[in-house]
Amino acid sequence: MYKKFTIIVLAVIVLFISITTILNKNTVSYLERRHLASFPKVDLLDPDFYSDLDTYMSDHLLWRDSFIKYSSLANRYLFGFKDNHGVYSSDGYLFETAIEDDDSINDLIAKTNGLKDTYFKDQEVYFIAIPRKNDYTERYFPLDLRYDDIKDSLKDNLDMDYIDISDLLSLDSYYHTDIHWRQDKIEAVADYIVRSLGDEYSEVEGTYKTINDFKGSLYASSFYDVAPDQIDYLTFDETDISVYDLEKDAYVGVYDEGAIGHPDMYDVFLDGPSAYIHIENKKAPSDQKLIIFRDSFASSLIPLMIDSYASIDVIDLRYFNSSLLDTLELDQDAKVLFMYSLEFINKSGALR
């Protein structure tokens, strides 16, 4: 009897999952912060159709998020893993393991020096490496990339002024579940950077808005022992501020509130990942100009510097080919700041 029961119940479960998976119309996984595969174009003779179909079915499997969570929990509590896919928790924060990649660091140094020599020979050029939050935990972790380990290499080999912001940050400056820093905790960093560039810092006045249930990039790989974050972003009067996004060929806001509810809500800052953004502030107290080469960390920092500059050119060389810099007609009087996170410096292969 129990054998018949097992066969029937299993058949019902399998059929239920089969049908609900087909009917699953979700297009986004908020847990994994990505768009799910769409149904492939049917071509029965094309081998790619079948591999795409595999991906589609796997993406749309019923209880997919629960399965991902349970496998992580089993790794932690059943098998005693200390990290899950390179993500571990400590002090209520999630951290990511990393292996120092000297080739990547050297490559970034060479490319950055090359850009300075080619385009900004007669301009003031600065470099900032943004520490990881791993630098601010007491826990010793062998698979790590530490700011102090590569700072000297950057300072010694970069042909530009180095600004050290590491003393201005703490663990509290970062999200619990994401690698990025929190805008509401880095006002002092913005102040320090502007002054280190030799410019006047003008504090942005506004009010913070909050986005709840922000599951950062480390959340999906965690053991789910850290609660989601909230994003606080400083809103202000944008009447005299224009933000032009080259890729969209359109003027956008300093914040993209359309990103709220999307897989990666950090994209709320400065229109998310963009190749080139030109910001102008007509009410800026001075005519100071700045060019920033950046990664995603700058997206939340730049709004805090917006009242200090008449214009800021924001270039992301992951999406903008450096050989085309001439086409941007960048201001020859502007100061130039290269600002990259340690994560990016260690994985600089995407630099174009």
Binding site: Y2, K3, K4, F5, T6, I7, V9, L10, I13, V14, L15, I17, S18, T21, L45, P47, Y50, L53, D54, M57, S58, L61, R64, S66, F67, I68, K69, Y70, S71, S72, A74, N75, F79, G80, F81, K82, D83, G86, I99, F141, P142, L143
Partner: protein
């Protein structure tokens, strides 16, 4: 398509079982044959023509050779049977030795179905079995999706009676088949894939301790992966009324290299024994000839596993060890309790370094380099993954089977077993989705 995929479990299998249940009598084999050809086409596209060609040739040639039993015909049959395998699998390797780069896509499972087809022709020639007179029935045997791409290598005589008759539904065997399939799914999705991921994560480091952990994990991964496919094949066979022979028998419990290979991929060992080793004279010849026979078998075993020199070395390594166990005092080592286990595990782990690492000597040198054996990273990985590797190792021993045999008489155990089957199923799905890592290791077979 692999068994451990959403499409196989929730769609392919559901549709095949439904069709199989709907049709009657002899049409059931037709459903299995067409399903198997689609299963192969799904993964390999037009290369299915190689499978169909092998099917048609071996079917008609066996009928021919049944009536014309001459050695020359057998020889011609073998040459034609192995020609696709030699072309697709070994041409690139042979040419690469002359500095010529020539890439050929290897049809999946060609080593398995070529060996099955050849064994069928030989068995018919030897009159061990009668040639099938139904292309559908024979095709069901040769192409059955349950064992098509990762074995075991099934001899026609093993299922000849079953494939040639109508197989009624058997609730007990279906239940056992489900149970076996779930065990295999768990071994593949949880144990093998997790071990593979552990290996992948540790591969960036090369301290001695980590290299040992990688080497041990790789042996366990291969064992769980391969035996999982055999478990699932046996389970699927039972769904459809076939009884395949066991392909693994706790090889890591072996007390010598010889017995290890009697427990690991048994169907391949049996194939070489019956069709190469015995025809060469086996062990009932002079020692030098016996040594030659063993070396031939192990050279071929190495080449079967992959067309590269490290596979040749890998095969010969085990062949030489078996010869030493037979003809030197090493034999005594395999008779001392516990020492025999340790010796066997040690040489097997080292042997599989040949299998997994083309830079074998460099890898071995680092494994035994005391000066960089332990560092903080290796201690971290040991503390993080040590328990899982230990659990996996215990899973590779008969301990669970022994416990199962003791508790099976417990009155309510059957209900616990049912819960266990569902637990294995859901845990397998969780890891299948959660890991995002589901390698197929048999692309070179």
């Amino acid at each position: 398509m692999v068994f451990s995929s959403i499409n196989f479990i929730f769609y392919f299998l559901v549709i095949v079982i439904a069709l199989y249940a709907l049709v009657k009598g002899a049409y059931k084999n037709g459903v299995l044959l067409l399903s198997s050809l689609f299963f192969y086409f799904y993964g390999e596209g037009t290369l299915v023509i190689i499978l169909v060609g092998t099917l048609l040739f071996s079917y008609y040639y066996a009928r021919f050779i049944e009536k014309h039993r001459k050695p020359i015909y057998l020889f011609i049959g073998m040459v034609i049977s192995f020609l696709p395998l030699i072309y697709f699998k070994y041409t690139s390797f042979i040419l690469s030795n002359f500095g010529i780069i020539y890439h050929i896509t290897l049809p999946l499972g060609i080593s398995f179905f070529s060996f099955q087809a050849a064994s069928y022709i030989i068995d018919v020639y030897r009159e061990d079995v009668k040639a099938s007179h139904s292309l559908v029935n024979y095709g069901t045997y040769l192409t059955f999706f349950g064992q098509l791409v990762a074995g075991p290598i099934v001899r026609y005589e093993t299922i000849a009676k079953e494939v040639e008759k109508v197989r009624p539904y058997n609730e007990n065997e279906t239940y056992i088949g489900i149970r076996r399939f779930m065990v295999g799914l768990f071994k593949k999705c949880v144990l093998a894939n997790m071990l593979g991921l552990i290996v992948s994560e540790m591969s960036a480091y090369d301290s001695g301790l980590i290299l040992w952990m990688i080497a041990i994990s790789e042996v366990l991964q291969l064992y769980f992966d391969f035996s999982a496919y055999s478990d699932m094949a046996i389970g699927l066979g039972l769904f459809f009324g076939f009884h395949f022979l066991e392909n693994f028998d706790y090889p890591l419990m072996a007390t010598s290299v010889r017995t290890f290979w009697q427990r690991w991929h048994i169907s391949l060992g049996t194939w070489f024994k019956d069709y190469v080793y015995f025809p060469l004279g086996g062990s009932r010849v002079k020692p030098l000839r016996h040594i030659f026979n063993l070396l031939v078998v192990w050279l071929l075993t190495g080449l079967w596993h992959g067309a590269a020199w490290n596979f040749v070395l890998w095969g010969l390594y085990f062949g030489v060890l078996i010869i030493l166990e037979r003809y030197t005092p090493l034999r005594n080592l395999t008779k001392i309790k516990y020492v025999d286990h340790i010796y066997t595990l040690f040489v097997v782990i080292i042997g599989f370094v040949f299998f997994n690492h083309p830079d074998t000597l460099g890898y071995l040198a680092k494994m035994f380099d005391i000066s960089s054996f332990i560092d903080p990273v290796s201690i971290y990985y040991l503390s993080s993954y040590g328990l899982f590797i230990l659990i996996a190792f215990i899973g590779a021993t008969p301990l669970i089977k022994r416990i199962y045999r003791k508790v099976i008489c417990f009155k309510y155990f059957k209900y616990i077993e049912v819960i266990g089957i569902f637990a294995l199923f859901f845990m397998s799905l969780a890891y299948l989705v959660g890991l995002g890592f589901n390698p197929f290791l048999y692309f070179r077979f």
